[in-house]
Amino acid sequence: MKIPFATTASPDTTPKAAPASWEHQARAATADTAERRRAVVSLLPVAALAAIGGGAYHRVFAVRDILPAVAVSATVPVLAALVWGLLGRSGKEPRPLAGSLLIGLALWLPAVSASVYHADAYLHVLPTRDLLRRIGTDLLDAPRGLLTTVAPAPDDPGLLVLVSATVWVAAWAGAELALRSGTTVLPVLPGLLMLGVPVVLSTGAPGGNALAVTAAVGAAGLLLLSRAPGHRSPLRVLLTGVPWVLALTVLAGYAGPRLPGTDNPPDLHDQVAAPPPVRLAGINPLDRISAWLLTPDQPLFTVAGPADPDRYWRLVVLDRYDGTTWYPVSGLRPTGGRVPGTAGSIDGMTTKRAVQQVTLDRLDGVWLPAADRPASVAAADDVELAVDPASGTVATGSALQPGLRYRVESQVPVYDPDRLKYLPTVDDPAHVALPELDAAAEPIPMVADFRTIAMEATAGSSAPYQQALRLADWLRANHRYDITAVPGHSYRNLRFFLESSKEGTSEQFASAFAVLGRTLGLPTRVVVGFSRGTALPDGTWRVDSGNVVAWPEVHFAGVGWVPFYPTPGEAGRSGSTKTDADTQVAAQTPPTVTPPAPDSPSRTDKDRGIAAEDRTAEGGLPAAVPPAADQPAPMWWWAAPLALLAAVGLGHTGLAFAAPRMLRRRRRRGSPEGRLFGAWRQICDRLVESGMPGGGAHTVRDTADFGLDHLPEEAGGRLLALSAVVNDVEYAGRTVTDQDADEAWQACAAIEAAARLDDKRPKRWTRIRHALSPWTVAATLRRR
């Protein structure tokens, strides 16, 4: 009975069920050697996987900062484990794991001292007693420190120690598992688990993990291949599995970033380590506006770089009001220079990049001026930088010193009034709150008065943006700018400003706008900053104390905080000493760096139009335009399984068609004897395709008999002659010459050609289906 296309191995390639004792011993010895060789070879991808895991810290640290730690930590423990595990082998029993653990720890201390703490280490390598204590402390504090730091983190050894430790543990554990465990998968786990540490820590940091994850998948695939069970050499397994690894790597690179959840991963920075917002103590810049205006010639800082006429330098954001003063509440975090949450990250928001070099002069406090909104700040290494991710303000860890220089790169947003026109404000109670009760829990009557004023000022407004514009217009129209006005921005000051004096500086204008806006339900805040300053002959801009200005901002959904400028431009006539164009800060000039097109109206023009629009003529509030950010993102995730299937299918198909050719090439290599037997096995495979029963029960003569029955006479005769040679070589010890091997392959070619002409051969589609069967591919890869 013929069994067409039996899926088992060819007749002469199935291992024997009961190996003889001598053969068993030989195989056991060979298997032991091969096992050890596989284990040693697999150490390479183990080290690579650990190094890739360390490289994934590139979003948390600057690459140059982590390179030494990663390089040392990925290689040294692997080499140590190799030496300890193989050279230190006592008989057949491996050395105890505890010894390897101790050696690993003993080596890590000088390694981390040399690669991370080299400045404090003895001879730049050996840890001192104090350094050992510090390493321990830093290791405990590093995770929290990184979670409270805005990435990229500074090259603080106290933080970098975590890189060294995690990479070291991954490399050591992977190497030990590779050498001690016979399993295929286990050595992969430490590296992959360790990869999760930088991925979690880098949440929200610039850049992506796609490259690291892709490389890790590739390294993990190579590691699995190098440990694949089998009797072939690891190198050969690597070669045969590389197409699969490549396919999986490409797939990981393509589908990884598109998997659900990768666009919004859980952020431990906010959930675990977010410091509670604190009211920052110290001199409030808003309180100093009057003083600065009265002594306007103090040089505060200079700015080198392009500056637009309407550029305002932002100093601090004041977002809380207690009825007496505006004060900043922020969660300052250490940073290596990056400021997260730029306006450029908002969909649909146009921004323009601006880079300035700032040199401080007499500016004091902790706040660093920068164009809104800063994306990165670079200062000297000894300057501790901190940012408030919510407001984008930048500060230092210590008081500002004259001469401090830093470089600021900003993404300046360009607001489009047409888009803002109908946008709703953000539902943000913290930025709408006003104290309405006094110390005796009695209602403060001024709040109601302010609300009345605000409603009258914005009567007929159809949308929050129009409300804000009309409020600014009302303030500008009904109040004057005067630097000698009574300073202060408490409820009383503001009532005096609004109802009595109607004179004030930008402190009062901005504060009044913010308070009136909050009575209308607009989320507002006050920003203190500076106008562009005075141009110097060397092309830089000097900003003096007289350039100080405050302005309010309103938070619109999908756009962010939008500045308004309620301070009137006629301030100079009220006694202000600022007479240059830059001090005319009260004009409603939006701080855009993009000059409007000649034929398109500017924001000021548009705002005038919007403010003047009649609510009744509009026929009610139009439907709000959904912000771009709220639009659902393209659903790419469904493509991932399709891409996975396509990649697997392509890889499998390629392997299915490549495997027989690789097998044939393998059989044609080696000694003449090996080539002879390779030719015979090739013939057997071909005859199994032609209907010869598989399963390995066929003897050489049975195969020849089948060929005689199914092949043309000449091919059958050659097969019969070859079978005699094969039996002679195998059992009679006949020596095989190159000529014998060549003739065997010639006979193989003739027999294969004859078998292809056999009418009883299965149809083409049947053969293709059989060739694509995973079992066939697996059997082909296993065959000798």
């Binding site: 003889a20 050489v700 003569r701």
Partner: protein, 392 residues
């Protein structure tokens, strides 16, 4: 009592103790070498060649040392000559004849089982007639006693001692016709001699001549009044053969009494007992059994023990017999090494009579032959290249 009632009818000695026909190999024997270089050294002044096993040769002629370079060639020629000779009376049954000769050179015993009239006895007699050796024919009947086969001790008054009178089992070839008609007790009388080549009577062991072969026949159809051979007895037969009906052409030739067809009585003797004994040593010692081939034979035997269709499989004696027979087959093809094909080809005649079907399998229509064929189709043959690879 029907032990060889007509001993003279066959032209051979047929009574215990009668002289056997002796003589050298025919001069035109194709396998008998003229040169003496392949023979063991002759004793000076003695025309007979010295036996290799200590026993004196019974006649002159070349004695083949199993280590002689051409021993395998001589074996093959002798084997072919004997097969040709037997085939003269059993026409068209070359395979059966060669299997019978295989049993002879493997020093095993042969059970020929077939319906009446197919040439069972003829084969046995032709085999015996082709050898210049003693042979006895015993017709097994229900009243046959063990002593009728093995011999008896008689008291001689003249010497006042007991004297052992050997039975018909003391011959090189013992033909047991219709062996299943004897009682189990009588059948059991053959157990010792078939396994150990000796008979123990009254505490004294009496060896039978070498070579020693029991060729038994039985009829599988007419079972009335028969006693099926016990498993222990069946296991002692090296192989079981079925002659089968001849093809038409051969049957016509036999029926017409054609000139080419010879009778057992006119068959010439081809070889002597000494030659057979020495060729047995050639097959045993000159043919090397590689480990994988022996392993293959053992795995086949083991597979019969684990087959769900069999109540009883082949024991270790079966795998030993398989290798012995395979060695003879290899030697008959002038090969000094075993092939897996030798084992596979001989598995059926050597093993099937040792298999006992399970009741379910019997009801399902399985036969020992079909079960063994199924086993042979599943037991993996030795891997090509494995042995050569191990040698490297």
């Amino acid at each position: 009592m029907s032990t060889n009632p007509h001993p003279a009818s066959a032209g051979h000695a047929a009574v215990p103790g009668a002289p056997v026909r002796q003589g050298g190999a025919p001069a035109d024997s194709p396998w008998a070498p003229a040169g003496a270089n392949l023979s063991a050294p002759r004793e000076k002044g003695d025309g007979a060649s010295a036996g290799l096993y200590g026993a004196p040769a019974q006649q002159s002629g070349p004695a083949v040392a199993y280590h002689a370079p051409d021993a395998l060639r001589l074996f093959r020629e002798c084997f072919r000559a004997l097969a040709d000779n037997v085939e003269r009376v059993l026409m068209g049954k070359r395979d059966t004849v060669e299997l019978a000769l295989t049993a002879l050179f493997a020093e095993g015993h042969l059970l020929i089982e077939d319906v009446p009239g197919t040439g069972k006895t003829t084969l046995a007699r032709a085999l015996a007639a082709s050898l210049n050796a003693s042979w006895q024919r015993v017709q097994f009947t229900p009243d046959l006693l063990p002593s009728d086969i093995t011999g008896v001790s008689m008291f001689r008054q003249t010497t006042n001692t007991f004297e052992f009178l050997p039975g018909p089992v003391f011959a090189n070839i013992v033909i047991g016709d219709e062996i299943n008609r004897a009682s189990p007790k009588t059948q059991s009388a053959l157990l010792e001699v078939m396994e150990e080549a000796r008979v123990t009577v009254d505490g004294s062991a009496h060896p039978v001549p070498r070579p020693f072969m029991v060729v038994a026949t039985q009829n599988p159809v007419d079972m009335s009044g028969t006693y099926p051979l016990p498993e222990a007895q069946l296991d002692r037969f090296l192989m079981r053969l079925s002659v089968g009906y001849p093809d038409t052409r051969s049957e016509i030739q036999v029926a017409s009494g054609a000139a080419g067809a010879a009778s057992v009585e006119t068959l010439p003797a081809i070889a002597t007992a000494q030659h057979i004994g020495e060729f047995i040593e050639v097959a045993r010692n000159r043919v090397q059994a590689a480990e994988p081939v022996v392993d293959y034979a053992v795995r086949i035997a083991q597979a019969t023990r684990t087959s769900p269709h069999l109540k009883l499989g082949a024991g270790p004696r079966g795998s030993v017999a398989l290798i012995r027979a395979a060695k003879v087959r290899a030697a008959s093809q002038e090969r000094g090494h075993l092939l897996p094909e030798d084992v596979k080809d001989l598995a059926e005649p050597v093993l099937t009579h040792r298999l006992m079907l399970a009741p379910d399998a019997e009801l399902a229509g399985w036969t020992p032959e079909s079960v063994l064929a199924d086993i042979l189709a599943t037991v993996p043959a030795p891997v090509v290249g494995g042995l050569a690879g191990a040698r490297r």
